[in-house]
Symmetry: C2
């Protein structure tokens, strides 16, 4: 019933050569006469030969698999990054295998175990939660295989990380609001204790500091800014303030969107009364009324760079690790901040 797969032995028999010669010829080993090589390739083609990855991996102790762990696949930025990773790796003969942490450390652990069980050659991780320790990761990987963090990276690690320039991003956003004439710019943020937020804060401060006017810092810190709903809370907070800000720089577009919606409902004019810049250029950003200006970066590019770096580490085990790659952010100006 089952048709047998063609192996190098079949080719060898057909050509009256040794299997080792076929093996060498197939990978274009120059030790094999060119004429023989051609003959082998031709015959392989003709017989529909496909090399068996299991035998190869068993022999080489290489899987040509890269493991990826992300919070969730359905996030637009995650899928873009994976797209970048996939495109880069597939041209080099590597495949990816994906685990989702759903933002939970325990699922991150089991995903990691799954990937290690599958003997991945390298690991690309966007953390579930950068607040927790990395012990579980160190433990599972035992530092034996190349590991790169991307996008959601830990504060302290001796692994490579690929991130965007959060300080620059915040700087761009704030500078833009200043140039739009805002006098009181609030930075709406969460956990300020993590370095990502610290960097954003630094960029925000730098922009304020550089401006001629004496702009005062105005931090609005919330526990949660992950959803549209949370943005509405921000709005009600702002509406209650004595001296409302006239410029807002948000953690992300979802919360910015929710906030804008509420502020509008309360009769405020965006951007006349309050100008807004979001973060991430999520799909909603360009569709709301008014469109949300946003600081963003190419998730695809992050994925591409992460993939390139992990390959470098795999192919050159002795190479010193590139400890940190910082990719630039850019500002997308739309109606919510143009006045």
């Amino acid at each position: 019933m089952e048709e047998k797969e063609v192996t190098i032995y079949d080719i060898a028999r057909e050509l009256d050569l040794a299997s080792s010669t076929i093996s060498r010829a197939l990978k274009n080993d120059p030790k094999v006469k060119l004429k023989t090589r051609n003959k082998v390739h031709q015959m392989a083609q003709k017989m529909g030969y496909q090399s068996n990855p299991f035998a190869r991996s068993l022999r080489n102790k290489r899987s040509f698999l890269i493991g990826i762990i992300v919070p969730r696949l359905t996030n637009h930025f995650v899928s873009s990054a994976i797209s970048g990773i996939e495109d880069t790796l597939s041209t080099k003969g590597y495949n990816i295998i994906i685990g989702q942490s759903y933002g939970q450390t325990d699922k991150e652990i089991s995903a990691l175990k799954m990937l290690m069980d599958n003997r991945v050659d390298g690991l690309l991780i966007s953390l579930a939660d950068y607040a927790t320790s990395l012990e579980h990761i160190d433990q599972s990987t035992k530092k034996k295989i190349p590991l790169i963090f991307f996008d959601q990276v830990p504060d302290l690690t001796d692994s490579s990380v690929i991130v965007i320039d959060h300080a620059q991003a915040a700087y761009l956003a704030t500078k833009h609001l200043i140039q739009a004439g805002c006098k009181k710019i609030a930075h709406v943020t969460t956990h300020v204790n993590h370095s990502i937020y610290a960097e954003k804060y630094a960029g925000y401060k730098k922009a304020l500091f550089e401006s001629d006017k004496k702009l005062k810092e105005e931090l609005l810190v919330f526990d949660d800014l992950s959803s549209i709903e949370s943005g509405k809370n921000v709005a009600s907070h702002i509406l209650k303030m004595n001296k409302r800000p006239d410029g807002l720089f948000f953690e992300n577009d979802s919360s910015a969107a929710g906030c804008i919606a509420s502020l509008k409902k309360a009769g405020l004019n965006i951007p006349k009364d309050i100008a807004v810049v979001g973060f991430n250029d999520e799909p909603i950003a360009s569709l709301l009324d008014p469109n949300i200006s946003s600081v963003t970066y190419s998730a695809y590019e992050i994925g591409r760079v992460a993939a390139q770096n992990i390959l470098l580490q795999i192919e050159n085990p002795e190479m010193p690790k590139i400890s940190k790659t910082v990719l630039p952010a850019r500002l997308i100006v739309r109606e919510s901040s143009s006045r």
Copy 2:
């Protein structure tokens, strides 16, 4: 440098047993004495044994890999479906490997080749373009391995397909518009020659037919309805019409969104003048002003069902194939169609 992996031989030596016994014990073969089994499991744990998937696959001729081909990972519905697939398969010890076709047949072919090279045990495909023939797929798979189409499925095939009930979806949308009081309901669509569109059309017709009033059919056919931009074209077409429709049922939410935006700009009131229902419940649907009503379905659920079915086919090769699974759609009513 490289630490050697623990193998069943190591365990065997440690326990003074044969490797074959270890192998059996590890998979809980009842032929092995329970006491021995426990001992083996304990020792395996202690020594940090991990079974080698390559050796196992080489021996079993099974990869425990499922190949997935999708137009693009960054589509929200695709990533949801994959999430459903992943969650289902991972509990059964299967992993996924993904190829993107980017909507092009040639990339679909190379993705297919890649997956076959990796010896996947089954194939889950959402077509790049259901207009083209399936020859390339038949050819690469040679029908040797289980194959299921999901979401974007071919018209004619002897493989299993998992789809939503497009007729019901269209019926729901149209019925809703009728109940909202629309007198002239246009169905905005593309390629009416494919069965998916034919089914939608049928559902649309059925709803019209069932209504008391003598509603006339009103098809607006466009080449492209994939983007917000294309929706704007629809709007300008509608604005030029002598007798404008007062209800619209769209192919998807993006085009509906673009159309609504343009119609509003032209001074029309949505939904008073024209009520609108979209398709897919894309993220934009709930964020626009007014929110777009939408017919939708659970992509995650489609993925889940597809994964379950492919496993069934893999584990029971002789089982007759379930030729077609149709999942229900549901209507999400929002402002754009409530009046």
